[in-house]
């Protein structure tokens, strides 16, 4: 049965490869409500299109539905209704396993708290991104080192994460997200734990990556971060408005 799921994903991936010209993200009428008295509508009829190479900032106050939107975009959560196409693949009807595989293959996550494993070296943390993919073990370290070079941390590969500065840690986490060339870099408050100098370094890195053609979606409440993005959308009480 699992093989059948994989075959389905494979077909979907191939189909999407043909549609590389199409949008990376296409949300149409997405709603997400949580059961409560009365039910909470975290996302209210959200429609959003993100094209290849876009650098999009999603801004809004806390409790506005930012996190719910991020979870839906990251395939961590299912919308209650509506359609979400990632790289042309309709994800709302996919089974759990297929969604997990799609998530691992297509989306690179960057978290506010970095989520680096403290007892593993920087390069091992980056290599972690590949172990759940079908890619072989051969050349993994080299690919991880290349990703570290790309974020300017080639000289920190053997370090333990707690020896790095906050900015360096976030760059290591970005290197991990970049491994395996994802279609989408999904960042959740990536500078929330950083001082202004480190924030500047990370934002500079985002600019570089955007110039290399990567699609980046950043969720933030910091003006400084959102101003660097090419596009801004504001979410208030679950309603999305383009700025």
């Amino acid at each position: 049965m699992e093989a059948a799921v994989e075959a389905a994903v494979e077909a979907a991936v191939e189909a999407s490869a043909e549609a590389t010209r199409g949008p990376v993200i296409e949300l149409v009428g997405v709603c997400r409500s949580f059961p409560a008295q009365p039910p909470v509508l975290a996302l209210d009829d959200v429609s959003l299109r993100v094209d290849r190479g876009d650098y999009l900032a999603i801004i809004g106050p806390s409790g506005s539905g930012k996190s719910t939107l991020l979870n839906v975009l990251g395939l961590l959560d299912r919308p209650s209704s509506g359609s979400y196409r990632l790289d042309g693949t309709e994800t709302t009807r996919l089974r759990d396993g297929a969604r997990t595989r799609l998530r691992g293959d297509r989306i690179g996550f960057v978290f506010q708290s970095f989520h680096l494993l403290s007892h593993r070296s920087v390069v091992e943390n980056v290599m972690l991104a590949e172990i759940y993919r079908r890619q072989g073990r051969k050349g993994r370290r080299e690919r991880a080192l290349t990703a570290l070079e790309r974020v300017g941390l080639g000289n920190r590969a053997g370090f333990a994460p707690n020896l790095l500065s906050g900015g360096e840690r976030q760059r290591a986490a970005i290197a991990r997200a970049l491994l395996g060339t994802p279609s989408l870099l999904l960042c959740d408050e990536p500078t929330g734990n950083l001082d202004s100098r480190n924030t500047e370094a990370v934002l500079g890195l985002f600019d570089e990556l955007r110039d290399q053609g990567l699609t980046i979606v950043v969720i933030t409440h910091e003006r400084e971060v959102s101003e660097r993005a090419g596009r801004r959308v504001r979410i208030t009480d679950g309603v999305l408005v383009e700025e």
Binding site: T100, R103, G104, D105, L117, R133, R137, R176
Partner: protein, 392 residues
């Protein structure tokens, strides 16, 4: 996910908190050690007990000859027929009678009112094979031979206890003892008896002499067989000793050695096996507890792995493998410790350590199974976690 990756992740997870992992293995180490020591010591001791039975009892056969008014059931020369049987190592015929017990024996004829010189001792007659048949040795001098018997020489062999009581210390001057009114030359002292230990306080005379003390007929035949032949000889001895009247003889043969071993093992095993199993259960609870705590601590890591594309089964497999490895390590350490303890115990008691080879394999496997079972619930908890909740 590649199996090597799964293994690497589990090992890394285990080594991330080495002290905790080491402490977690303790319960399993104790349990497996107890089990191995119990089984090992029981096997070793069981083997030892059987060894002792072999030496003393398992080859000793005694034939009791009832009195017969008209004609003796067993003649003195019947013992020669018995020793010709295959499986008989040594045999001797002995005659005891009521007349022969409590005879006054003294080592000289002086009457000394301040000392008790006369001892009340048992006198019995025996064939020449007696020292071998009772597994003793001549402490001094020699046993009488066929010539003494034939000539009806007035010689006697006394037990070492008798010699002490009568004050006979050396034989080079051919000391005499008086049984009743007659003197007999002491030619040997018999000691270190393996069976029939009461002979050490007795006086033994040749059959041809014994008739004076009412020791005419054979009353008992002592037989030593080679290992494992006791049952066979017990069946054959009556016919060899007394053809035609064999069923009137009473044969006393040793109990089956296998039953002795089973009994010894059962006694030792039961209690300690229960102890070992209890330790194992405690060990399993310990592993389950710590793994559960570890899972709760590593919720963000689980979230990260899910975001990197790990399916639920990947998460479950990792935690399951971690707890299994902890159990396996505990099993290996426990088995090693257990073997060392068994060998040490055997060394101090000068036993031969006896351990089943499969125990060395089964003990670590048992540890791993304990770890696997203990990890089931925590792994399930980890796998059931929603990625959204784990990343919060």
């Amino acid at each position: 996910m590649h199996v090597r990756d799964l293994y690497d992740e589990a090992v890394a997870g285990m080594l991330a908190r080495p002290v905790r992992s080491a402490l977690t293995t303790l319960g399993t180490v104790l349990g497996i050690t107890t089990l191995v020591v119990t089984l090992g010591v029981a096997a070793t001791a069981g083997n030892q007990i059987v060894g002792r039975f072999d030496e003393l009892v398992a080859t000793a056969v005694t034939v009791e000859v009832p009195r017969n008014a008209h004609k003796p059931l067993v003649t003195w020369d019947a013992v020669d027929r018995l020793t010709r049987l295959r499986g008989v190592e040594s045999a001797a015929a002995v005659s005891e009678s009521e007349e022969g017990t409590n005879l006054s024996v003294r080592s000289n004829d002086l009457v000394d009112p301040t000392r008790v010189t006369a001892r009340s001792l048992t006198v019995l007659a025996a064939t020449t094979g007696l020292p071998q048949a009772v597994r003793g040795r001549m402490v001094q001098g020699r046993f009488y031979d066929a010539g003494h018997v034939q000539r009806a020489d007035r010689v006697a062999v006394i037990g070492d206890e008798t010699a002490r009581m009568l004050g006979v210390t050396r034989l080079d001057r051919a000391p005499a003892i008086f049984i009743g009114k007659h003197a007999y030359t002491v030619i040997g002292i018999l000691g270190d008896l393996g069976r029939e230990k009461n002979l050490s306080s007795a006086v033994v005379v040749p059959p041809t002499v014994g008739s004076r003390f009412g020791l005419r007929d054979v009353t008992r035949v002592l037989v030593n067989t080679s290992l494992g032949a006791a049952g066979l000889i017990a069946g054959q001895a009556p016919a060899a000793l007394s053809p035609g009247n064999g069923d009137m003889l009473q044969v006393i043969s040793p109990p089956s050695p296998t039953r002795a071993r089973d009994k010894a093992q059962d006694d030792v095993n039961a209690l300690f096996l229960i102890l070992g199993l209890v330790s194992l259960v405690v060990g399993a609870v310990g592993i389950a507890n710590v793994t559960l705590v570890t899972v709760m601590e590593r919720v963000p890591e689980i979230g990260l792995r899910r975001s990197l594309g790990a399916a639920r089964r990947h998460i479950a497999a990792q935690f399951l493998l971690e707890s299994t490895l902890i159990g396996l390590v505990g099993g290996v350490i426990g088995a090693s410790l257990g073997v060392v303890v068994v060998v040490a115990i055997a060394a101090t008691k000068q036993w031969t350590p006896l351990l089943d080879a499969w125990l060395a394999v089964a003990a670590p496997v048992a540890g791993a199974v304990v770890g696997l079972l203990a990890g089931l619930y925590p792994a399930l908890r980890a796998a059931r976690m929603e990625p959204v909740d784990a990343l919060r």
